[in-house]
Symmetry: C2
Subunit: 355 residues, 2 copies
């Protein structure tokens, strides 16, 4: 039986609790099935350690990660470290160095949960957001001149390359093709941002010619939020830039009930590097350590990891167990993140047993 | 009695119909009150004209506009002209050249209308979004190298200056101070964008010291969408960059019922240049010329113009008339833009008479 090696990075705040719960669920899953197992290695790369020793990852941190089959990530960010330092020391370098150029963010209304929209039944919101994860607004380029003077000026430089856009479009079209509705909506802001966004449009239309079976349309990012709220059923697969998809995927999670539910997969589709799986929520310092964080997004991310490792039916089983749990719980959107972690975890176990 | 000179730019699509209706309503308003009047001058700067003669504004277009007390704008954009050409030929140069560095976007649930959110009553959503309107992601800087080759690369450069951030913060704090709740929420993405957004944060915290009576908080733009959907009541005045506020204000309009309702004011607070008032919706080619566009955003924008000109009680009267109309109409969020323009206009007249 195969053993998958997983680098686990719990990180900060509720990242620690939900990673702990996800590891238990994954171990339970593999022992129920006994066709594969996991070997976890935990890396204590966190803001707490940064404050104590001055670094998140050691100099060979990225090299160490490369040896694993996959990476499971909790959350990073803590009030006493400026966010741009914690993120650029941990999560963003991993995404970039391991060529995880795709970030997949599915959203749907899980059984037993509710949308805050009054006219949105369970099947009406079923989206996959394909996020460009390697360039664009997250290039990190730019700088500050005349700092600490009245005429300080700072720039943020977004980089868009044809290679970068082509590969994300290909992934998005293939995702759309794998789904029943075969529909792809592309998002830009090419009316106001007339360089990179115009290139993005052009590459999209060229790629579309290779996928004549996919129905396409194009939205501006501002108007897209209106469509998500008022016409959720009209959308299926969505492709957008790093920043636009970051914003739209949080909105999607809210419209499906809670940010605590939503998973994300940072993928290197070439499979030369391990991919990384993480809930889209943050470290939630306000509720950290209380055992009340909502672990659904963490469990769903774990299922996506299992799927990426090739264990399709185990992934399906885990998702089914998860929806049995959400179905039998009180409506999630009211409690949001405050759902009892332990009770949900214990509730979850019996459902995993029949697997 | 004073006469206000107004430059009217109907533009494209439904911009023409709603501007026509707004001009009639404004004339009716002034003749009912007879303490001031309007003198309109219409500029046919449109995509139709561009296609016929090759330009939107004449070379001295911006100079011509400077002579007016205010500008009333319909909408710009038409399928046969790339959006980045139409917008960078008309609306964006006006905002920039006339120093309209503030864009104010109020949102609330008008009487008789409904939010698509099931847990959001009329008073629960009452926001003013203060949008930086002169720099940031709309600087227009950047370019493309190696165009039409496989290694094409394009950049978008966002510019943030201390001067630009300070003046928008001042306006935002004053706006918050003018409202009962005295609360300002500042939005950035300073965890991922570590140059301009970090400067934005720093200037905000410095400005906050001068406004100790204002309660402040800080949100990341992605998490802000979640808060708008799940906790609308927790927000009041909001300040954000050009792009972030563009996205959030469309979302706000959707959450209040329809993009067709929402107004916007492009202001030069120094009053050295005329300010410009426009609904936030676009030219809606699909319904243009059918007389079915929703004119509420146009009328509300007209009321904001009247207020900016100093005619407070006339503005209040117009808003009251408008809400009498929405109250007596069928729920707007169902019909959205498809509300009959003429019937609403005619319905509106009787309500204006008692002024
Ligand atoms: C933590 C932060 C850098 C991150 C992002 O913006 O990508 C988060 O918001 C996400 O969506 O994964
Ligand atoms: C038309 C477009 C340039 C404009 C913008 O992005 O500013 C519009 O979306 C708006 O919100 O006024």
């Amino acid at each position: 039986s195969k053993t998958y090696t997983i680098a686990s990075i719990p990180g900060d705040g509720i990242g620690v609790e939900i990673t702990d719960a996800a590891v238990q669920v994954l171990n339970k899953l593999s022992s129920s099935l006994s066709t594969f197992s996991f070997s976890f290695h935990t890396f204590d790369w966190s803001s707490k350690q940064y404050l104590a020793r001055g670094w998140y990852m050691p100099p060979d941190g990225l090299q160490q990660l490369k040896k694993f089959d996959a990476i499971y990530f909790g959350a990073v960010g803590w009030p006493s470290v400026p966010d741009h330092i914690s993120l650029w020391s941990l999560i963003l370098p991993i995404r970039k160095a391991l060529n995880q150029y795709v970030n997949v963010r599915p959203t749907r209304i899980l059984r037993g949960t509710e949308s805050p929209l009054s006219n949105c039944a369970r099947g009406d919101l079923d989206w996959v957001i394909v996020r460009e994860n390697s360039e664009g607004e997250y290039s990190g380029q730019g700088g500050t001149s005349h700092d600490n003077t009245p005429h300080a000026i700072a720039t943020e430089v977004s980089i868009f390359t044809r290679v970068g856009i082509e590969r994300i479009m290909r992934f998005a079209f293939e995702t759309a093709r794998s789904r029943p509705r075969k529909k792809l909506t592309m998002v830009t802001k090419s009316n106001a941002q007339r360089h990179g966004m115009v290139l993005w449009d052009a590459v999209f239309h060229k790629a579309a010619k290779e996928y004549p079976d996919i129905e396409i349309d194009k939205m501006l990012v501002d108007a897209m939020t209106v469509r998500m709220v008022l016409h959720p059923k009209s959308l299926d697969t969505i492709v957008a830039t790093n920043l636009h998809a970051d914003i739209l995927s949080d909105l999607a999670a809210a419209l499906s009930g809670s940010i605590g539910i939503a998973p994300s997969s940072n993928l290197d589709p070439t499979r030369e590097n391990p991919s990384m799986f993480e809930p889209i929520h943050g470290s939630a310092p306000d509720i950290a350590g209380k055992g009340i964080a909502n672990p659904v997004g963490a469990f769903w991310s774990a299922a996506e990891m299992v799927r990426w490792l090739g264990e399709e039916s185990a992934a399906d089983g885990l998702m089914q167990a998860l929806e049995n749990v959400t179905l039998s719980s009180v409506p999630l959107h009211r409690l949001q993140r405050r759902l009892r972690l332990r009770s949900l975890y214990h509730l979850g176990l019996p459902f995993l047993l029949p697997l």
